[in-house]
Amino acid sequence: MKIFRTLSEKPWIPHPAGSEFLAKNYQKEIFIGRTALRFFISVVSVIFFLFTITFLTRSQFPDFQALAGEPWQPLSDASHLWLNTGALLISSIALHWAHVSARKNQLNGAIASVMIGAFFALLFLLGQILVWKQLIELGYYVASNPANSYFYLYTSVHGLHLLGGLFALAYVTLQLMKKNSLVTFSSSVRLCAVYWHFLLILWLFLFALLTSSTDTINIIAQLCGF
């Protein structure tokens, strides 16, 4: 393990002449962005991890009514959510394309992909709001059951993160217009794409959790020791 090797260095012993400056690339933009994004993704993961811990704990109280499982429950038919998932998937792929096109120096392709990505991300958000509306019409309000509360909580926090990503994407695109540097754009949009993939995976996880039946949730909770 590299980390253990690093931590067991004896810094008071001088390095062999010349060897000490070889190992590292100093202060390269791309590493900076990547490191920051990794930490940011960890922070967001912890947030959702903790939400999920509370979800599993709360699900073991008798008043918890999962939203799916029995045919009359609203998320047993998850077709709307599947459509939204599709939109997010397309958005994620489009951003990846944007990065690839930029790297190949194809300006038009890059901009078109970003636009498609942004459009489908917005579509996803709109779709989520429609699902909310549907639930409300069916009488599944935010406070009427903890499972409902979690559905609104999870989707809104996830949506807010996507919204934040859209702002970042807009900023990156504006920078491209201003400076016209496809190289910078390529590395920035790559970070956006990674973030999008993360949000997609996160959504798939939430999707699975929220549409699980009571039995499935109980099994998961038991496996986790609640």
């Binding site: 067991s8 810094p11 008071w12 704990t57 935010v142």
Partner: protein, 605 residues
């Protein structure tokens, strides 16, 4: 000293400030942001200090101050705790010292995201303003205790259950956003912006402490955010995350099925690492201060780094020791008592290594050094009482009593504040180019050190007696002798003296800024990089035309073969003046040794 040739340097955009506003207000310079953070944090800290004085007045002299009613008392307790822990200590150590020291100590021109860094400060300021606003809403600030336990935090029957708690939760959420912006900056800067030759293990322990504390913060604050969001929802839209069925003040509420203990788990999953978010930077900084002023390398540098990392890791699996009597599954007690006492081992090793750093040193008893020694004493005391509370059965009689209050003030109040002052006296010459007045500094130290001990040592004994914390008044009870009231009065007197003595410090800072003795660029003869800047105080961009190159660790003090008693980190092997072999064993260090690291005696203040 060698620098990287300009051609080798990565291109960097430095937003050179052009006007007063961009230089001091909307500044993206990490040093200015650090000072903004520090001033704001110290300001709210003073508010919290006044609140603690008011609490002590009520406890020491009950029935004498009509404006302190039970609501006001609980509000003072709550705001004092929350401000001190989060808005003062966290902000000052990471936002203040982290911001100032990281780029200078690792040889960077600035944080990697200067704009984000600036934003972090302004968002922090917003959080502070929202928090302060809660003093002015109807019902006043929340009086739920700094732990904000539901259900009572959001129910009638607790002071500030309306606007107060709402603003508190919002302010916390804003603070977390600010901290995350800052924190991403600090870790990325440490990992990606170190100058040539600055390997991780060559970083000063201050950077290590701040770095690991920031990682803890990034991973722990989400727990507070999650609990704040869920409590906000319970409060505003009526969800039942934490709220079970309740008859509050004779009325059935609409909640059902929630779990108050779940909140406590979340809160302490944040709350315990929070202790180390404050303690680890203090550990790091005090190590550097001790080493510089003892003219000796920090003893067991590697052990110190490992201990910081191990303590950081362990701090995530000890949280439930705050909850031994919370009604959680009692079997957790075995696990958490064990992990808690295990964490004592690396912590004890750090204490040993600090003392061993002084052992066989050449100790300069400067003001900074006095505070550092004061820290070792108070931290040892506070750490050892932690072994009482961590041991699950001893927590049964002592939990929720004044023993707990005394313990955590010793370990998390007095000790870090000793380090804060040590750090300020140590780095003030670099930050401002002026020395603080030594006589005033020492007076400040003696009152603070002896005064705080006079507050907290007796307080432990109130806890043994069983006096509960968060009581507005004890009233007449059978088991508390009347003499305990005298003890309380004496604690209050000490507390007021210590509180007022902080004015000496403020006066000293203002006075020294105006007419303090001018400091040379490296008055203590320190080896670490921040003392090697071309300008004092360092200018925007820190390093002039070329970044420094690092050839050694930050602790080359009293190296036997070197002529000077310290070798700066950026001094290459060829530049070091060596003594002849025959002289190595002699005690002579050359003419230039004797004045290094002395404090100016200074005229009368």
């Amino acid at each position: 000293m060698t620098h990287i040739a300009i051609a080798d340097q990565p291109e960097e955009e430095l937003h050179e400030p052009s006007s007063f506003v961009t230089k001091y207000i909307w500044s993206q310079d990490h040093k200015v942001i650090a000072i903004q953070y520090s001033i704001t944090a110290i300001f709210v800290g003073l508010v919290a200090l006044v609140l603690s004085g008011l609490m002590r007045l009520q406890l020491g002299f009950p029935d004498s101050f009509s404006f302190i009613d039970p609501s006001a008392y609980l509000q003072f307790v709550t705001m004092h705790g929350m401000i001190m822990v989060i808005y003062l200590l966290t902000a000052l150590f990471l936002g203040g010292f982290g911001n100032y020291l990281i780029p200078l100590m690792i040889g960077a021109r600035d944080m990697v995201f200067p704009y984000l860094n600036m934003l972090s400060y302004w968002v922090y300021l917003l959080a502070v303003i929202v928090l302060m606003a809660s003093f002015f809403v109807p019902g006043g600030p929340t009086g739920a205790g700094w732990t904000l336990y539901p259900p009572q935090a959001i129910l009638e029957g607790t002071p500030g259950a309306g606007g107060g708690i709402l603003l508190m939760l919002i302010s916390l959420a804003i603070f977390i956003v600010a901290f995350t912006m800052g924190g991403l900056n600090y870790v990325t800067t440490v990992l990606q912006a170190r100058t040539k030759g600055m390997t991780l293990m060559r970083m000063p322990l201050s950077v290590w402490g701040i770095f690991i504390a920031t990682i803890l913060g990034l991973l722990a604050f989400p727990a507070l955010l999650v609990s704040a969001i869920m409590m906000l929802l319970d409060m505003t839209v009526g969800t039942s995350f934490f709220m079970p069925a309740i008859v509050s003040l004779g009325e059935q509420l609409d909640y059902s099925g929630g779990s108050p203990i779940l909140f406590q788990h979340l809160f302490w999953f944040f709350g315990h690492p929070e202790v180390y978010i404050v303690a680890l930077p203090a550990f790091g900084i005090v190590s550097d201060v001790l080493s510089v002023h003892a003219r000796k390398n920090i003893f067991g540098y590697r052990m110190m780094v490992w201990a910081i990392v191990i303590i950081g890791g362990l701090s995530f699996i000890v949280w439930a020791h705050h909850m031994y009597v919370s009604g959680m599954n009692p079997y957790f007690g075995f696990f958490f008592a064990t992990t808690t006492l295990i964490i004592a081992v690396p912590t004890a090793l750090k204490v040993y290594n600090w003392v061993l750093t002084l052992w066989r040193g050449n100790i300069h008893l400067t003001t900074a050094m006095l505070f550092a020694i004061g820290f070792i004493f108070t931290f040892t005391h506070g750490g050892l009482t932690g072994l009482f509370l961590g041991n699950v059965v001893i927590d049964l009689p002592l939990s929720d009593t004044y023993f707990v209050v005394a313990h955590f003030h010793m370990v998390m109040g007095v000790s870090p504040i000793m380090v804060l002052f040590a750090a300020i006296y140590h780095w003030f010459p670099k930050i401002t180019g002026k020395h603080l007045h030594t006589g005033l500094g020492k007076a400040h130290f003696w009152v603070t050190f002896l005064g705080t001990y006079a507050i907290y040592l007796p307080m432990h004994y109130l806890g043994f007696l069983g006096v509960p914390r968060r009581y507005y008044a004890m009233g007449s009870t059978e088991f508390v002798p009347d003499s305990a009231q005298d003890l309380n009065a004496s604690i209050t007197v000490s507390a007021l003296i210590v509180g007022v003595a902080q004015l000496i410090f403020i006066y000293n800072v203002i006075r020294s800024l105006r007419k303090g003795e001018k400091a040379e660029s490296n008055p203590w003869g320190a080896a670490s990089l921040e003392w090697q800047t071309p300008d004092t105080p360092p200018k925007h961009g820190n390093w002039g035309p070329a970044l420094p190159v690092v050839y050694r660790w930050a602790y080359d003090y009293s190296v036997p073969t070197a002529k000077q008693d310290f070798i700066p980190q950026n001094m290459s092997e060829e530049e070091v003046e060596r003594v002849d072999d025959s002289e190595t064993s002699s005690t002579e260090g050359g003419e230039d040794v004797k004045n290094i690291g002395d404090e100016p005696v200074g005229d009368n203040p």
